[in-house]
């Protein structure tokens, strides 16, 4: 009897749930209204379904039961900004340092391939004792390794107008916990010949994208990763497996990796010669610029926020491909004086580091800036410093200048564009 009534109760709950889900999905699709919604950063306009049932008092009505897949609150709509070949992480909408997998930036050279995990194979050959093929199941049987790291495209800089969000300026960086097998583990199985010094990594996308990587990097901390933030890596990030090289320009972490050929020289592929190289002084072109130099960006307050007078916690992220961030300095007087921001621990190697700086804005027009300092002593440069160092033919890769936000008297926050558009 007791059991039966429990079942009846469950059925009733499911029926209710179905109705509320139908209301939410069908009603939402039919009509949408624009509403002003209070968020932690003030009022924002957002489209919410007109028929979404928002009880006057949520403590007086049962909410929907659990569902087999979680969803964002309908009030939250963080979105990537896309182009034909890339999409940018909405840095201004995120908190902390982990990028939700569906908001991870993308940069593809032949679209996102669909790969059957049952048919996936990784071939390692060339200057090895025993060329081998590993299935996805094989890769997962090896001792696993997890690590939280940023991944950043070396073309991660845009400028040109004041109305630009952090996402538009520097949205080609994201952070995940990556899980997979260390390359050193696989290299141990195939036996690397003593004269080997490079390897070619090849993807199975329509570009069959290739990069040459110094063997030492692979042995030091290279990984073949199959998981991202606790779940299988997303197709947009290389499903079912990709190369991951901590701290190096994103392009070298070849997605959908199918083949590694060990060699004693680089292959000089298109991506490491005509692309991902940058003009520097004297008409020279810099190649194999692997490491991502230290950088930071204030993600709040930033365009399009309208700032209110009073206490503001300036927040942002800092990162370096050369180890750990040791310090982030913030200026609230257009770069005249600098103060240390608080770093959110644990500060990890080659990882986005959250920083905060408390500031009392009294309504004066000013500029706020941040600069990252890493454990090598490198200080994030200004655009002027970069142009002086690299000359007038400076290329568009590896630009990590200090980002300045102008605060107007009315609280408008605008990007201060400088340098090459």
């Amino acid at each position: 009897m007791g059991i039966k009534s429990e079942e009846t109760k469950n059925e009733t709950n499911h029926a209710l749930a179905k109705i509320s889900r139908r209301k939410l999905l069908l009603g939402g699709a039919a009509t949408a209204a624009v509403a002003l919604v209070k968020s932690s950063f003030g009022e924002i306009q957002t489209a919410i379904p007109e028929s979404l049932y928002i009880p006057a008092d949520p403590t007086k009505v049962q909410g929907p039961p659990p569902f087999d897949l979680g969803t964002r609150s309908p009030f939250e709509r963080p979105l990537k900004k896309t182009s034909d070949t890339s999409s940018r992480t909405p840095l201004q909408d995120l908190y902390g340092t982990i990028t939700p997998a569906d908001l991870h930036y993308e940069r593809h050279h032949g679209g996102v391939p669909t790969i059957d995990p049952e048919k996936y194979e990784l071939l390692i050959h060339g200057m090895v004792e025993k060329p081998m093929i590993f299935t996805l199941a094989d890769l997962k049987r090896f001792p696993a390794f997890s690590r939280i790291c940023f991944l950043e495209c070396s073309g991660n800089f845009r400028t040109g107008k004041e109305e630009m969000m952090p996402q538009e300026i520097a949205g080609l960086t994201s952070q995940s916990e990556w899980t997979g097998v260390m390359l050193s583990t696989l290299f141990r199985e195939v036996g690397i010949k003593s004269k080997a010094s490079w390897f070619l990594a090849e993807g199975s996308d329509a570009a069959v994208m290739t990069r040459s990587i110094p063997l030492q990097k692979g042995l030091q901390d290279g990984m073949i990763v199959y998981a991202q933030n606790g779940e299988a890596i997303r197709p947009q990030q290389g499903y079912p497996a990709r190369l991951f090289l901590p701290g190096w320009e994103g392009n070298t972490s070849v997605k959908w990796i199918r083949r590694i050929e060990v060699s004693d020289q680089p292959y000089m592929t298109r991506e490491e010669t005509s692309k991902y190289t940058e003009g520097i002084k004297g008409g020279k072109i810099r190649q194999f610029s692997f490491d991502m130099d230290a950088r930071s960006i204030i993600t709040y307050p930033a365009y399009p926020v309208i700032l209110q007078q009073g206490w503001v916690e300036i927040r942002g992220i800092a990162w370096t491909g050369r180890g750990k961030i040791v310090k982030v300095e913030v200026s609230t007087d257009a770069g005249k004086t600098w103060n240390s921001a608080k770093l959110q621990g644990p500060v990890m190697d080659k990882a986005h580091t959250y920083f905060r700086y408390l500031w009392n804005w009294r309504g004066d027009e000013t500029e706020i800036l941040s600069r990252a300092i890493d454990e090598t002593g490198y200080i994030q440069p200004t655009m002027k410093q970069l142009m002086e160092a690299r000359g007038r033919d400076m290329g568009g890769y590896h630009l990590n200048p200090i980002t300045a936000w102008r605060i107007k008297r009315d609280g408008t926050v605008l990007f201060r564009p400088e340098g090459k558009a």
Partner: protein, 220 residues
Amino acid sequence: MLCLKVRWWQVNTKKLKLKRYLTLCLFLALAGCNRSENLQGPTPIESESNPVNTLDTRDWPESFQIGREAQEDEIARQDIDVRPDGEGLPEGSGTVALGKQIYLAKCATCHGRTGVEGPEAKLVARLSRPDYEGRKKPKAIGNYWPYATTLFDYINRAMPFNAPGSLRPDEVYSLTAYLLYENRIVERDEIVTNRNLAKIKMPAKGLFVNDDRRGGREVK
């Protein structure tokens, strides 16, 4: 040789292992000195100050016996890369004339009738052209590509965009010949083959220098 790693969670939880930990730290420091010779096995990752990023391999067998040996034909099917010394080029040859025909049929829609009109990447430019004042300097084959072999490799693996990997070797050699000709690198009657492609000198070769950024105070 010195492939010992620190099991950091043991260090944290079992104080008795501290002595062993310190000894291992010393080994790691020594191992770090001659990492380049240590190619046969896994190498310590990062330093002992960052034990989170290390992998404990002390209990590992010589081989996990996971995966299978790759057969010659399996390797040959995928091994399409071409090196700057010409290694990997398939037998074949191509002419400028044939290359032009293929180009107009399969490439011109994206790269323009003569390789400069776009809308996609400009392919033709001369290094000697003194300046592109007021206009963006193109990164084309004649003024930016350091190796002729890269042309074959890239066209072969990734082009044309709407049918990647569909060209036969002779077609790729022909396209390579035509694009080299348009960039004034070879003559109109040049026949490009697997034997001569790697010998073709590219105008931009001397411009490339290796990255010398090393962190620290200097902005480069």
